[in-house]
Amino acid sequence: MNKALKILKDNFIYLAFIVVGLLPVFGLPNYQFYIVERGMQNALVVLSLVILLGFTGQLSLGHAGLVAVGAYFYAITVKNYGFSPWISLILAPVVTGLVGMLLAIPSFKLRGPFLVVNTIAFGEIVRILILNAVDFTGGPFGLKGIKPLFSGVYLYYFMLVVVLIFAIVTLRINKSHIGLAFKAIRDDEVAAEIIGVDVKKYKLLSFVISSIFAGVSGVFFANLTGYLNPDSFTFEISSTYLLMVVMGGMTSTTGGFLSALLVTALPEVLRFLADYRMVIYGLILLIYIRFYKVLDIKKIFSKLNFKKSSEVVE
């Protein structure tokens, strides 16, 4: 019994992906299908925050800005400059990674709330730049008719595979000495430095990896909607990402993936409540936070009472 549980625990992430992968087989209506796709796109941002916030302890409330950089880079290069969508898919995360590198520099000096304010400012600057650079971005009118990578169910499976790859990357970083260095920075920055962790280098690395994830998410956003508008990248969206990562248990990859799907779907599921929708949505989240960490897979399995595996080196 224990052995079966252990196998289930170690491979829970794959189980979650198989379930999501089987959804189209049951023939979801278009709109619900779209919500699951948006959930996967959000899951990428959540994984990005798992690395940045969960592992490294750097709270960013400007991730919508990074997603916007990825989305707009893809849209502008494909639409205005006639790039192949595939080349833009590769280039957009690279550009977002470079922007993330710049965002990392203040984190060398700033801590806690000061860093948070800095990331909020970053998010707002990106949004306002997009709003005003009308020639490139279409400003408040947005960009229409962006060519997608695939259409329909192919895009769905392509996204699923990409999210799975990024989830595996997150898991591997978690179990590596780099993940350990990230956590050392989160728990005690000074001690980490004195033990031999190059704190600046690893903060930079964490921001860059996180931004690359967010950039890919942006490309998917552009693919899904086919239309970009600065209103999709507000501070409110950034805080929703934060909500998702906290609900997922901060450091849990599987938890983050599932919570991204659930938090994205919840307001839509509650649509039948009409005017009371957001009230009930808030209430559900409150109740959830009260019984915190229900989605943290590690915690659930440890409650099932078998020995915690600390096989960090495989």
Partner: protein, 261 residues
């Protein structure tokens, strides 16, 4: 024996206070050196100056023939100086095994792509690291609790674990900041044995303590600090008989101003 570490007239000031005032000390290869002094005499500051936490305003720190003052702490660890902390600084959210693993960080040759792609290089290094970690844990006698989380292990074991973590970086010189503070007699005796064993491996040790008894059994050479200045050096017996040292620890006994107030 050649000189491994040389602190040459280091000065460190905090505003108007001179915490380290022209301290000179030397650790030779294979030596155990004690640095003692009353509370607030600047022992830990000397250690922080050596490990790069503070940059000295004046003077030089020479390690292995190279000036290291002003280098970043992680670079100094790479050069071969390991340390432990007076107040334990382990990563509480991780296990004993992981904390020791973190000590290996400076020696790791893997980059992020090795980890993402799970290359053969990664598998080989991890296998080797795992053996090394178990060896170190066995050496310090904590192998049986390798999967415990830091929060669940007693204070004495945490102190020893910090030494294990420092050993994983394969240092040439180990700086121990009050390793015996807060330990009971049994633990303290065990610690003496471990320190001796580390020294037998050829690792030099700079030991900071204000417990005289602990230093007595270990250090070949002792430096005494008071108010940031070196007031004595020599063997343990020479230092403890030095009138300046006795004064620093016990006061002069003639008309102490504080006693009258």
């Amino acid at each position: 024996m050649s000189s491994l570490l040389k602190v040459d007239k280091a000065v460190k000031r905090f505003g108007g206070i001179t915490a380290v005032d022209g301290v000179e000390l030397e650790v030779k290869e294979g030596q155990v050196v004690g640095l003692i002094g009353p509370n607030g005499s600047g022992k830990t500051t000397v250690l922080n100056v050596i490990t790069g936490v503070y940059k000295p305003e004046e003077g030089k720190i020479i390690f292995n023939g190279e000036e290291i003052q002003g280098m970043a702490p992680h670079t100094i660890v790479e050069k071969g100086i390991g340390r432990t902390f007076q107040n334990i600084r382990l990563i509480n959210s991780q296990t004993v095994f992981d904390n020791v693993w973190l000590g290996h960080h400076v020696n790791s040759k893997l980059n992020i792509f090795d980890i993402i792609l799970k290359t053969r290089r990664e598998k080989e290094e991890l296998k080797q690291v795992r053996e090394e970690i178990e060896e170190v844990l066995d050496f310090i006698g904590l192998l049986s609790i390798k999967d415990e989380y830091i929060g669940n292990i007693p204070y004495g074991q945490k102190k020893i674990l910090e030494i294990g973590r420092a050993l994983m970086a394969k240092p040439k010189l180990l700086l121990l900041d009050e390793p015996a503070a807060g330990l009971n007699n049994t633990e303290s005796r065990e610690l003496v044995q471990i320190v001796k064993k580390i020294n037998q491996k050829g690792i030099s040790i700079l030991l900071i303590e204000h417990e005289m008894e602990f230093v007595q059994g270990l250090a070949e050479r002792v430096y005494v600090l008071d108010h940031g200045k070196k007031i004595a050096e020599g063997t343990f017996a020479e230092c403890t008989n030095n009138p300046l040292v006795i004064e620093a620890y016990l006061g002069t006994g003639r008309g102490d101003k504080n006693a009258e107030n």
